[in-house]
């Protein structure tokens, strides 16, 4: 195979691969929502409820909010 043919195949498969990755990501976003694994839309509220004493949308540490920055769980 000459270089141009290899390039053409590489180009085709790379493009196909990227298309798959793109749709897989979209599928992943929506399916996580349906299956209840993660509600992405609630993160939109981070901007709306952003006073320092507002309850975080997802607390970084569930049992201890004095230890700021502590590892989750």
């Amino acid at each position: 195979m000459d270089i141009a043919t290899i390039q053409a195949y590489a180009y085709f498969f790379f493009t196909a691969f990227l298309v798959v990755v793109l749709y897989a990501y979209i599928y992943h976003l929506y399916s996580s929502q349906w299956k209840g694994k993660r509600d992405y839309e609630k993160y939109g509220n981070i901007a709306l409820h952003d006073e320092i004493d507002d309850q975080p949308v997802e607390q970084i540490s569930k049992n201890d909010d004095k230890k700021v920055g502590g590892k989750n769980e």
Partner: protein, 493 residues
Amino acid sequence: MDNRPLEYDYTIAKMFMLTTVLLGIVGMLVGVILAWQLAFPGVNLMLGEGLAEYTNFSRLRPLHTDAVIFGFTLSGIWATWYYVGQRVLKVSMAESKFLMFLGKLHFALYLLVVVAVVGSLLMGITTSKEYAEFEWPIDIAVVVVWVIWGMSIFGLIGIRREKSLYISIWYYIATFLGIAMLYLFNNMAIPTYFASGGIGAWYHSVSMYSGTNDALVQWWYGHNAVAFGFTVPIVAMIYYFLPKESGQAVYSYKLSLLAFWGLMFVYLWAGGHHLLFSTVPDWMQTMGSVFSVVLILPSWGSAINMLLTMKGEWQQVAASPLIKFMILASTFYMFSTLEGPIQAIKSVNALAHFTDWIVGHVHDGVLGWVAFMIMAALFHMAPRVFKREIYSKSLMNTQFWIQTLGVVLYFTSMWIAGITQGMMWRAHDEFGNLAYSFIDTVTVLHPYYTIRAVGGTLYLIGMFLFAYNMYKTMTSARRVDESELQTASPMGA
């Protein structure tokens, strides 16, 4: 220790708000001077023959671009970062002495760099690479400033209460990483004085790249400076400020994530469109064109998401000048991200390249999108950081319409000028002789250059109104209570 409740600390945000306004005025004033110079060359000598060295177009042009990019825009990015960052991470700068110190150091060193840049550009010291004109000592200082900002970003993230990073934070992080990589690689240079054992000036250097490679690296940098300086951080702003000001959560958070990764992936390959029909390999040129067209998708993904965020709330656009600024900004974002890809198509580029159409494209993006969004962000921040209402709503409305008119005059005149220019350059008779000489185009373009200068002057007048409104907001507007600051910004008549 007193027992005041914890509050966000906007000290650093205020400092950068100040430089945003000041450098915005300086940069745009220089832009207006350039525009009048192009229309009336006599303006090159505005301060007399003796000072012509400092007032001519070529000396001032890099000062304009660098002042608006690294002065106005970057200050705006940092002002909003030091505001938005704390709020969406739900942690105050006041909680960390170290982060406060870093923030102040960040600002102080940035001021030093600004002084060095203005001084050296006025003296004509430049590496001659567009948007990368600074000589190596300044570059090193820039890197230090950048690293400090990085520490401040990740420091704040490290002590956050909110577990998930809001979409804006992703965009700020991308700005930080993107520019770090681009700036370092494009500015690689050898200081000639040290390499040659003492020849020439100590601050002089030559790039590590030459010829076609230099062009490639330069436009990989140049175009992505647009990406990571004029797009990514401005998108960060609109994802926070539009929802907050309108009280509507972003229409689709999932779409914002998808558009983010799309933008990150596609942008980096598009720079080749600056080098169409040049000596770079043909496949790179084609790739640059193709990726530029694909870029419409993630760009519009964000812009449409913003417009949809206003779904059912369009009366706010009529009611609030602040929302007007943001909606016009995202509309101009859509507009220039459609125009750019069109210009990147090879056959169109053959006509458009080197003409004023490109300058028109740059400015519908930066005036309509970047500057409008930055000013809207500052307007939203002002009541919250100064605890006063915005001084005057009617002044804001006036500013909005004057500047919108300015942008429209700017880009329409440059479209006509650019396309006329392109057509005249390529026109030839049946034997292939060129139909026009260069001076013919200059004569024809003169009225359009004048219109552009008028448009630019209007925009600058708007900047002065903006500065005045901000100043009054800071000093004498009615004081407001926390409760008035929840969603729509309070404004005086």
